[in-house]
């Protein structure tokens, strides 16, 4: 296939923030996750943990707890407000001041009643209405803050974790009926209050509590007596989650499972027994969810870990593997292929880099001497409190656009000799915010995936930018568009929405051309071929489809691929493909990448069947020139580059890979709690 010059970029200092709270909606199989910077992410656990939605955060808007009510997502935080999110437009719908100081926790019962725990010692009940939430009443006010709350499944009792104690409230009367005192730490300072970080109220009136003294305690909720204390750690036990078993996360990064089983084989009587310990984190576990077949945990080390409970699986499948989600399933890097520029997106700023150059030649494996070093051309801080949700760079490098939930900004860039950036004034009024931005290849149009499933078409030229049209699907459903792609010839635009629908618009007629047949999994990446105008889609479940826009049907190659099936090794990969692009010089080549590899699919070569060695690059290297052709297949996977954030093909046929090594992320994390290790 040949040699490639690869620009190996590691200067993107992307730093995810710690996971603070999680909530799992078992009905829709969506996991909502809140990070310390206030952003909320929604993962579709039915679709290979695909990160469907990211609601950008906001300065000084931290989230302490998340909670689903039906399909609605609520959050509360130390700013003292309850926020409901608009999941289709990826923005907070409204915020309601609770008037109780900082809010530590928010939970709901199946009947749709919210309770929040406040700093001032009140437990407030809110009713969830169709159009919002409404304050109902306070329970008896206590001294000291309410850190954690748990409904009894019957909805009549609430257990509240406080400083040094747990209270049990009768919801009807609003009175506290039990007061469970929690010991202070044994070895540590007696004067430090013990914080009851979480409580879990089980249907048999057993209360679990975890606290800052490192204990998990089991209480009898009827009598208010302590049943059992499990000293897990010297540090805090931070998170608890309940289902058939109880899991607790600690500051040491371990997750401990308790199960209600008979301790002896003969014994009938069951009790809560500490059964398993998992260590998948290096730092505090701040959020834990048990989803039936797996334990999902997240914490200070920013990764989301899905730890399957292997006894729940009969056979090996995708869900039975341990998953770690490090990177967002979307692109944070834009590349101007012609101008050799990279735009790096951070929540608070954008960075524009020019790639270095080398005129040397080398044999495979060499590192070429640099003629010019990469250059940071621009550091653009966002305006306002809202974090950047998407950004785009035109391929000529002349335009730059970014969007927050409140505004879109467009800039004219000059990068040739003297760098200059000018904000384009007077953007069309309709262009208020965008989930996805995209320039046409000649930089004459800007496409913005906007609210209500619409795509705004803005024409750009030197003097002005003008609203042209709004592209809308026929159905009136307002569904989030999270992927956009434009054909190089400017004729076609494809959109993907969170209902897994892909629409193709004719840009010359400015109307919907067709809809790609529905597939159950979301496309995680799409691209339109520059010469054949075939739309290639890679889905979250790793399936690849090629759809001929002109013929409105899947291509022969795609059918062949579906007939033969993809190789198991391909299907079992861990992370979704996040970008698809093509080689303009070789129309047979499709380039795509996920976090651990990039792959060039050569459509002219035979497809691998299950017996073929899939990762065959090493083998091919060792074969002679004559033997090679018989071993070639279409999927050319390169794993030389790891922790990939982005892979693009520049116009001069050289590749750009942007790596963000996990080691570099880990090294920037705060120090974990000190643990005695062997020989230290």
């Amino acid at each position: 296939m040949g040699e490639f010059k690869v620009h190996r970029v590691r200067f993107f200092e992307y730093m995810p923030t710690a996971i603070r709270a999680m909530s799992f909606n078992a009905h829709t199989e969506r996991l909502a996750l809140a990070r310390v910077d206030g952003s909320v992410e929604v993962f579709n656990f039915a679709d290979r943990y695909f990160q469907e939605k990211v609601i950008p955060g906001k300065d000084a808007h931290s989230i302490e707890a998340l909670c689903w009510v039906g399909g609605r997502l609520f959050s509360a935080g130390l700013h003292g407000e309850i926020t409901e999110y608009d999941l289709e437009n990826l923005r907070p719908k409204y915020s309601l001041e609770a008037y109780g100081g900082p809010i530590w926790t928010i939970i709901s019962n199946p009947q749709g009643t919210h309770v929040i725990g406040c700093e001032d010692g009140t437990v407030k009940l809110f009713e969830v209405l169709a159009e919002g939430v409404q304050f109902e009443r306070n329970l008896d006010r206590q001294k000291g803050r309410i850190i954690s709350l748990s409904w009894h499944p019957s909805g009549t009792r609430i257990a509240a974790g406080m400083m040094d104690m747990i209270r049990v409230f009768d919801v009807l009367t609003g009175h506290a009926i039990q007061r469970l005192l929690v010991d202070r730490s044994v070895g540590g300072c007696k004067s430090r209050e013990t914080v009851v970080w979480t409580v879990v109220f089980l249907s048999d009136h057993t209360i679990f509590s975890s606290d800052s003294a490192g204990k998990v305690q089991v209480w009898d909720g009827h009598t208010g007596t302590l049943v059992k204390t499990h000293q897990l750690t010297k540090w805090d036990v931070l998170a608890l989650s309940d289902e058939s078993s109880v899991v607790a996360g600690t500051s040491e990064g371990t997750v401990v499972q308790f199960q209600f089983i008979a301790p002896n084989l003969q014994q009938q009587e069951k009790e809560w027994v500490r059964t398993r310990t998992f260590k998948n984190h290096t730092h505090d576990v701040r959020a834990l969810v048990e989803i039936g077949t797996a334990i999902v945990s997240g914490g200070m080390d920013t990764q989301l870990v899905v730890r399957p409970l292997l006894e729940k699986f009969e056979e090996k499948c995708f869900a039975s593997g341990l998953r770690r989600i490090h990177f967002p399933h979307r692109n944070l890097v834009s590349c101007a292929q012609k101008a050799r520029l990279l735009l790096l997106q951070f929540p608070g700023q954008l960075e524009l880099w020019r790639l270095g150059e080398s005129d040397g030649h080398g044999k495979p494996g060499d590192i070429l001497p640099l003629k010019t070093k990469p250059e940071k051309l621009l550091y653009l801080k966002r305006k306002g409190k809202d974090h950047i949700c998407c950004s785009a760079l035109s391929s000529c490098g002349g335009w730059l656009a970014y969007s927050t939930v409140s505004s879109v900004r467009l800039y004219r860039l000059q990068t040739d000799n003297n760098i200059s950036i000018t904000k384009v004034p007077k953007l069309p009024k309709v262009l208020r915010s965008a989930h996805q931005l995209c320039f046409s290849s000649e930089s004459s149009y800007l496409f913005a995936a906007s609210s209500q499933s619409s795509v705004l078409v803005i024409s750009l030229n030197q003097s002005e930018c003008k609203y042209v049209h709004t592209l809308k699907p026929k159905s009136g459903m307002w569904i989030l568009i999270y992927r956009l792609c434009v054909a190089v010839d400017g004729k076609w635009l494809a959109t993907a929405n969170s209902d897994c629908e892909v629409h193709v618009y004719n840009l010359q007629k400015l109307e919907l051309h067709c809809m790609v047949p529905m597939y159950s999994s979301c496309p995680s990446a799409m691209g339109i071929h520059p010469t054949t105008n075939n739309l290639t889609m890679v889905h979250a479940d790793q399936q690849i489809f090629e759809f001929s826009i002109a013929e409105k049907q899947y291509t022969v190659w795609s059918r062949k691929l579906q007939m033969q099936g993809l190789h198991n090794l391909w299907l079992n990969r861990d992370t979704p493909v996040t970008h698809v692009t093509f080689n303009p010089k070789n129309p047979d080549q499709i380039l795509l990448h996920d976090m651990y590899m990039f792959c060039i699919i050569d459509q002219s070569l035979p497809l691998p069947d299950q017996k073929t060695q899939f990762y065959n690059q090493m083998t091919l290297r060792s074969l002679s020139e004559q033997e090679r052709p018989s071993h070639l297949h279409a999927f050319k996977v390169c794993k030389s580059f790891q922790d990939l954030m982005c892979m693009r093909l520049l116009d001069d046929q050289s590749l750009v890979v942007v790596e963000r090594p996990l080691m570099a992320i880990n090294s920037q994390l705060p120090a974990p709690v000190r643990q005695k290790k062997f020989a230290t």
């Binding site: 040699e3 690869v6 044999k363 070429l368 640099l370 070093k373 290297r621 390169c638």
Partner: protein, 723 residues
Amino acid sequence: MATLYEGFTLCGLLQTQNVSDSAIQGIELDGDSDHVVVTDTTRSVTLYKVSDQKPLGNWTVKQGQSLTCPAVYNNQTKEYVVVSDKRVIRVWRNEDLNLDKAFKATVSADVWRVHSALEGEPVVLFNRGAVRLLDALLSAPQQTIENVLSEEEIIRWSTNFVVEKQHFVLFTTEQKKMHFLYVQRLNPNTLHKYRLEREDSGAPPLSVSASLWDKRINLLYMYPNGCVYQSAVAVWGQAAALEDEEAPALPRTLLLRLPVGEGELGAASAVALDEAHVAVVGVPHPSAGTGKDFLCVWNTNFQTLQAGKEMAGRIYGQVWCYSGKLLVPHGKALSVIPYDCQKSSLASALGKLWKCGKEEPRSSVAVPSWNSLLYEEQPQGPARAVETRRSKLSRKSQSVLALTVDQVLELIKTGPVEEVQREVEALVSRGDAQDLQTSVGQLACQLVGRSQAESAFYTPGALAQLVHTQYLCHSVCPDLLLLALEHKDYFLCQLCLQLFPDIPEVVTCACLRAFISVLDGDVEMVSLEPDSVSFMEGLVAAGARGGQQNGFSPALYDEDSCDAHHQPRLHQDKTPAVQLEACPVGLHKAVLLNEVLQTPYSDSLLLPHLKDLNSQQVILFLQYLQFLYLKYSQDAYTQMPGLRSPTMTQIIDWVCLVLDAHFMVLVMAPDAKGLLKNLHFFVKSQVRLFSELGKIEDSFKELHRMKPSKDIGQYSIEVIELF
């Protein structure tokens, strides 16, 4: 230790008219270290290749002429130089066949010697003490030669050295029974004269030799009474006025006082082999009667005989030492005896004795005792003070002492036990220990000799005291230890085992056999050296204490104790494993066995003697060794500091040796089965440990080999190839 290897004959000797005279005038090195130039007393010079034992060339002067000095080889011109008829200097090359046709020059005065050093040109020493470089002399052969020495002064011996490109000619003279040493330096010429101190008998030195160590000239001279003195000659010293009547005495140190047997030494010679070893010919072997036909190597640091060899035939008192070989004319042959002087470990521990005294040539050198160096314990008995050679020199009580020693020796022959004991003790405790070194050997030999002759005569106290002086070694008095064994004097045995460095393996084995077969009851009453007893007590008590050391919990302790015990427990419920607590032998017996364990030996020599043990003895000994092993591994080997105790390695080595010697016997013996099994588990555990260690080592190596991943940095442009 020094070793004398099997020698060979280089050439036969001509018979001279006078039987006592050697037929060899001198032996010099050729340019090749394997070649020697032998000049006989009459007319011929022969060049030999030593390793091939064959002559390469022979040159003779005409009948009627005679060679008056040994031929030397001029390394710079590759020529041989010899003097015939005292005044004719002849120079020839290897390819010249006839000496008469070679270059000749007649000089105006009688020549004593021509000397040649490897890195300098030859020097001519005239009878009257004048010195000329050969080149300068040959350019004007008839130049007048001044007289340095007076008429009566006769040169006895001479040599030359080149030290830092300075020629030195040393010669000794005799004048009216006085002996002088001259040190002549050439260019610039200076002359030093020293008086050699008179020996008591007034006899001239039998032999003088000089050697160059560390750019200093050491003179070694030997007197007929057996004393070997050493003097360091200060070559850079102040020029002393020759006219001065009283030449300064040359400071000397008594290196050795060799046993002379009956009468005085006649023809004997000493030559220094290295800093610590001296080869002596013509001196009797201390343990082989009075014959004087021996070549012996003595260690001067420890006054021990390191090797000895009987030379057949007459010894002429000549010995040369070139490049690791001793050349000794004896009888009718000239023998070449290769030798090897290994630095004894103590000498290397001291860091080459003479080097510490670099600044001052006559610096004092401390000679600590074996014991304090090897075992770091204070010597018991009469403390042997660390003394310098100079202080030895300053002692003037030698004649008095010699008398007393002689008297005591006489007394031993006939006197009653009590008196002998008293006198010997008195003599030893007089404290003039340094000069006892030779008399101690004689005393011990006498005592042992009489004890062997009369079974009633036995003086344990006196013998113990003699051993305590630490001048004795087994080779000096080989029967002592066996005598002690015979008399069941276990205390003396223990002392000997502790203090003798040179006990032969056969004796070690005899001791071992005696100790094993002795009844516990017999030995428990014997008083033994208290330190070793207390060590053994501590070891036995350690088990009784339950190993509660350093907060060891019993469980841990069990685990630590020995891997060997795990498997027997797994495989068979009850193994007749040796109980840790029970020592299979009595306390004192164990102490004695420990001494055997600590005796130096060499495997190949010990092995045949070990076979003398019977199976019961072997099993008991193995049980005891196993007990020690278990104790050591169990207590994490908390060795009590300062106490003499066998090391783990020694124990393991002995186990291996005993097993090697008696393997078949043990396999057949039913009562050895459990023991063997246990030992097998030891080995297994050791093998496992070592294989694990090997694995660790390998993985460390692998880590080392792994290249550090190349630093990619923030940005790079690489080339990849896809297929």
